[in-house]
């Protein structure tokens, strides 16, 4: 600290020589890798027992059934990292789905305001307003989020049912709108036939025979994987050029190869069916945005700091009230998007839409390793946590496991994941 020798200078020599190795990046990622391995193990288990999990059509179903959970889990991750909870997301999603259906089907808005895209945007804005309304009390009046959103859960479920006029459902929704959940990316490049499908005597092709690739999906997939590999290499280079040691090359190589291979495998599976589902693309873009926000932006860093120690954050000049409000607005927007995805998948708005989904969303975040105390949690882990829940739902349904037992198993997996985490933390 000073150049002048002090009587303490001997103390400084006790310091282990400072390695400029970002050790933690690997250690903190270990858990993430473990989680991915767990997901793969579960998938392989269901593949072996059911034989259908990895089938292209089922993978598309899997994504379409679970994307709304993952979309909402992205918002929930920030809420939980900030040290709060949001119990209202299922009800808000149901309410927004009902609202969208009313706007498109019942109310004579027509023209511009009847356009599914415009309706969706209006719904997202209303979702943000709902988030702001709840966040306001939490941020500026310090009402515990558990209570505010418990209230919101009741209010918006009630409004959802009221809007739909009691127990009835509203539909059918326009086809354009349903594309959000059931649509696939159009093949702009055109299909590539590897193996001609078999045509039967009646002149119809037999479903599942032959291999026809959705080339847009293939090209996008390859571009994505290349971008991942190149950015990995270039970040290694800058790290090294600045004198920091990057992770060991062998590890980097294995990691990159395994992830790229897995990604290409799934790309291929989607391509032989009907290409990427639109909702997968939406989800993928959102995941990328949230990874960036949480890892590389000041606002993301501040949310973690606030969740870790709100008093220290305030004394460091972080405007914690505003930040809390923003986190809940974000949650509101994503709940609304979740609601739109649910409605689009069902093709209609039903009073029970999204009922209980807040629990799946929260479970995904905690399986992903977030801390209930705030300050800890990762986007990728949350997504993996969401897929673990999704694959179990899907796999157990295919196996014919009773819905009651599915709940029991999911509950035990959640408990097990968190116990595993806590146990590891205490040991380390």
């Amino acid at each position: 600290m000073t150049d002048t020798p002090t009587p303490q200078s001997g103390v400084a020599q006790d310091v282990p020589s400072a390695p400029r190795v970002p050790v933690s990046s690997f250690v903190s990622n270990l858990r993430e890798y473990g989680l991915i391995l767990a997901l793969i193990a579960i998938m392989v288990f269901f593949q072996l027992t059911t034989g259908t999990l990895f089938k292209p059509v089922n993978l598309s179903n899997l994504v379409q059934q679970n994307s709304f959970i993952i979309v909402m889990a992205l918002g929930m991750l920030l809420v939980i990292v900030a040290g709060h909870i949001d119990l209202s997301v299922g009800s808000v999603a149901g309410f927004i789905g009902a609202l969208a259906a009313m706007m498109m089907v019942i109310w004579p808005l027509g023209g511009f305001f009847g356009n599914p895209l415009v309706v969706s945007i209006i719904c997202l804005i209303i979702g943000g307003a709902i988030g702001a309304a709840q966040g306001y009390w939490i941020a500026y009046h310090r009402i515990p989020s558990f209570i505010v959103t418990l209230g919101g859960m009741l209010v918006f479920r009630g409004l959802c049912q009221g809007l739909l006029g009691g127990g009835s459902s509203v539909g059918p929704l326009p086809d354009g709108f349903k594309q959000l959940s059931s649509g696939f990316l159009p093949d702009l490049i055109g299909p590539l036939t590897l193996v001609e499908p078999i045509v039967n005597a009646a002149g119809k092709t037999i479903v599942g025979s032959g291999i026809v690739l959705h080339m847009t999906t293939i090209v996008l997939g390859i571009i994505g994987v290349l971008a991942y590999v190149i950015s990995g290499i270039s970040s290694r280079r800058t790290r090294e050029s600045r004198g920091y040691q990057a992770e060991p090359f062998g590890l980097f190589l294995v990691k990159t190869l395994v992830i790229s291979a897995l990604a290409l495998f799934f790309v291929y599976q989607f391509a032989v069916y009907r290409g990427f589902p639109i909702v997968l693309v939406v989800m993928g873009i959102l995941v990328a945005i949230f990874v960036f926000i949480t890892r590389h932006t000041t606002i993301g860093r501040r949310v973690y700091a606030m969740g870790g120690n709100i008093k220290a954050a305030q004394l460091s000049g972080i405007k914690t009230e505003r930040l809390t409000l923003l986190v809940f607005i974000n949650m509101g927007v994503l709940s609304a998007l979740g609601g739109l995805i649910i409605a689009a998948r069902l093709g209609q708005a039903v009073p029970a839409a999204g009922l209980g989904s807040e629990l799946d969303v929260i479970a995904a975040v905690f399986i992903g390793g977030a801390s209930a105390m705030g300050g800890v949690g990762q986007v990728i882990s949350t997504v993996v946590g969401g897929f673990i829940m999704g694959v179990m739902n899907n796999g157990m349904s295919i196996m014919g496991v009773n819905v009651d037992w599915q709940q029991v198993v999911k509950g035990l997996v959640l408990l097990g994941a968190v116990i595993f985490d806590v146990y590891n933390k205490n040991k380390g």
């Binding site: 600045r242 606002i299 860093r301 000049g317």
Partner: protein, 510 residues
Amino acid sequence: MSSYILEMHDITKTFPGVKALSNVNLKVEEGEIHAICGENGAGKSTLMKVLSGVYPAGDYDGKIIYRGQECHFRGIHDSEEKGIVIIHQELALVPMLSIAENIFLGNEHAKFGVIDWDANETRTRELLKKVGLSEDPKTLITNIGTGKQQLVEIAKALSKEVELLILDEPTASLSEKDSQALLDLLLEFKRQGITSIIISHKLNEINRVADHVTVIRDGRTIETLDRSQISEDRIITSMVGRSLEDRYPPREPKIGDVFFEVKNWSVYHPLHADRQVIKNINLNVRKGEVVGIAGLMGAGRTEFAMSLFGRTYGRKITGEVFLKGKPIDVSTVGKAADRGLAYVTEDRKVFGLNLIDDIKNNITIANLKGVSALGVIDDLKELDVANDYRRKTNIRSPSVFQKTGNLSGGNQQKVVLSKWLFADPEVLILDEPTRGIDVGAKYEIYTIIARLAAEGKAIIVISSEMPELLGISDRIYVMNEGGIVGEMAASEASQEKIMRAIVRGEGKVA
């Protein structure tokens, strides 16, 4: 037959990757006050955790012999049964329960689970009398000060028929007056035959009460001194492993014009609107000057500093703040920090650090603008900054990715300091910058303060340790009951003068 009540032989305790204690020996005589000294991280607390059974038998190597019997404690219950009671640095009282409820928590006078409140209260009164605390047993813990809470802890220990009382830095957060009272109480216990082990950083206190001092360094016993050998210099020498000619770094103050000025600063209590906490304070700091604020616990020094720094304390705040002669707006932390103010808190764990995050993220959090563009953080620049400050302030850790919660007190303090140094302030308010940290780390903090002053920053140091204030400041303000009751150049100041200003000023401030 030895007169030792406790012998610990060759205690070795390893954590994954770290040898916290290696062959530590400790012998405590019946009825004495035995002090344990050592730098932070030397292993004192670990040793006491081994003794009290927090680390159960089998988790460590070595022998514990208590009253001639080898003991294998499997938990705190086992050791308490034998009359060994430990009072931790962080008090373990439940704030919203009463004194009586806390004293008998888990140990209530009860029949079939139904509590006999009269018996509890009567017994509590007796215990409180023994420790010299005149409070109603029904008073809630949250309504009494830290000093009194400490006494409640001791009363609780007495309720368990304590024979060996262990106090981990009992006076760390006490005022001079309360500390003295506590030490007197220990001496009184000694007369009654209770043996005490006291862990302390305050060498003058050890000097006053201890019969023996055992010094621990780097997980090893260095030596045990008896009464005739105890001197501050001797203890410091064996604590740091070499002699310390000077406890404060030499400094050539270069003091310029008035740089920072506070005028007519008044603050009211955040909850009791009619209680004025800070009474019309006027104060100034010159460029390159280190100004100390002395005072007893509860004098309002922290409240003053926090109200100044973005109104983080109190309400109905009035007064003006000037920097280089111009009034500045310090109404939020953001504004205060932008204008060049920094406040390094007295309570680093509660107000200073995100303990679950690493050193790097803690250092940059108050000045993320400095490592980002358009809200996007430049990872490598941030890493450079963190490593730079880690070196500058000599934070001892394997890397900047170490969680701050795993650092010793001294290193945590350096992280908090680094955070504010990186914010590049012109005026630094350091609140108890060396509380609970060891002699070596203290010297390092003093050196940083001296360097900052030499760079032309204006520095305010709040401290309850008068020798420290006298050692590092150029000028000292004395605060009492929310007002300033004295101002003196450090060269003319002495502990007596400061105390006299406090006593004379008692009740005088309007």
